[in-house]
Amino acid sequence: MPQILLNGETHEIAAPLSVTALLERLGLDTRRVAVERNLVVVRRAHYDTEIVSEGDEVEIVNFVGGG
């Protein structure tokens, strides 16, 4: 199984998939998060076309309480 590094932890994916598909699989609302792939922010408009594959480092963040 191909592996990616997702928020610092290894995560198995069945096959390369789009950011949209990854977020769906994780049950995340695309409007509430931001995604970085290999240190580069993925623009929302590119979620369908940006492909996550073996060895990618992915960060998914959201807003939390802070000052």
Partner: protein, 257 residues
């Protein structure tokens, strides 16, 4: 009250509040309401992949009413802060950022050198950068020269509640700056906020002073009034300090003299 203008955007409120450390989200919502604030800070963190049951902060912030100001809190290098700011822009669809680059864990004092580097990078990328800095007039001037939309000198360490430790520096920063000066961090109670405003600060940003109060909603109301009172007093122009008394009643016409 005269509006606060940052990067061409007008705000009626001169109080900016945070979203951290509240006893509950509903209390936070009420406190925001009571504060009268129009801009609210949020932090950027990794989504918890294994436990997504937690509520989203954004369920409790009406973004049609409040301007979100994402921060880069917890970042220790310019690179981390820049990455976080870019993610925040994508998450919030806004190019405003409260830029923090921390230089010391114990005091949470900023690393001003890295802060300047990160400011330059983000300004070039079109961000409206509001940097959290030490109360150093020279650093504030450099940040302004680097394109910061405002400067945010600390009053005291984050969350310390010590109040404005160097009132003279805040005054000097106000005198030197051509961008808004926002006192960020260190406020403990209402009089601290008033003092910041009386010194000429254009706004005050606080989180713990409200969220950590026994009654956050009441404290938020107090802070709203304090910021307004301080601003009005600054605008009105205080009397000079004198060593001795200066009678306010006529000295002539006293009975029996």
């Amino acid at each position: 009250m005269d509006p606060l203008v940052i990067a061409g955007r007008s705000f009626q409120s001169r109080l900016i509040v945070g979203t951290g450390k509240y006893p509950s989200n509903p209390v936070m919502v009420q406190a925001h309401e009571a504060s009268g604030a129009e801009m609210i800070t949020v932090a950027v963190r990794r989504v918890n992949i294994s436990d997504r049951s937690r509520e989203s902060l954004l369920d409790y912030i009406d973004t049609s009413r409040y301007t979100l100001l994402p921060n880069t809190a917890g970042c220790y290098t310019a690179d981390e802060a820049v990455r976080t700011a870019r993610l925040a822009r994508e998450a919030g669809l806004s190019h405003w950022v409260k830029l923090e680059v921390i230089g010391d864990e114990k005091t949470l004092f900023p690393d001003n050198e890295a802060l300047l580097d990160a400011t330059r990078v983000l300004v070039k990328e079109g961000f409206v950068v509001l940097p959290y800095t030490t109360d150093d007039p020279v650093v504030c001037r450099k940040l302004e020269d680097a394109g910061a939309a405002a400067v945010m000198p600390l009053g005291a360490p984050i969350g310390s509640g010590l109040g404005i430790q160097n009132t003279n520096n805040i005054r000097i920063i106000r005198e030197f700056s051509h961008v808004p000066v926002i006192v960020d961090a260190g406020v403990g109670t209402a009089s601290d906020a008033s003092l910041a405003m009386e010194l000429g600060a254009d706004a005050v940003l606080m989180n713990t002073a409200i969220a950590g109060a026994r009654e956050p909603v009441t404290m938020a109301h107090a802070m709203r009034l304090a910021v307004e009172a301080g601003r009005l007093a600054y605008t009105a122009g205080r009397i000079p300090r004198r060593m001795y008394a200066n009678a306010s009643s006529p000295v002539e016409g006293l009975v029996g003299r």
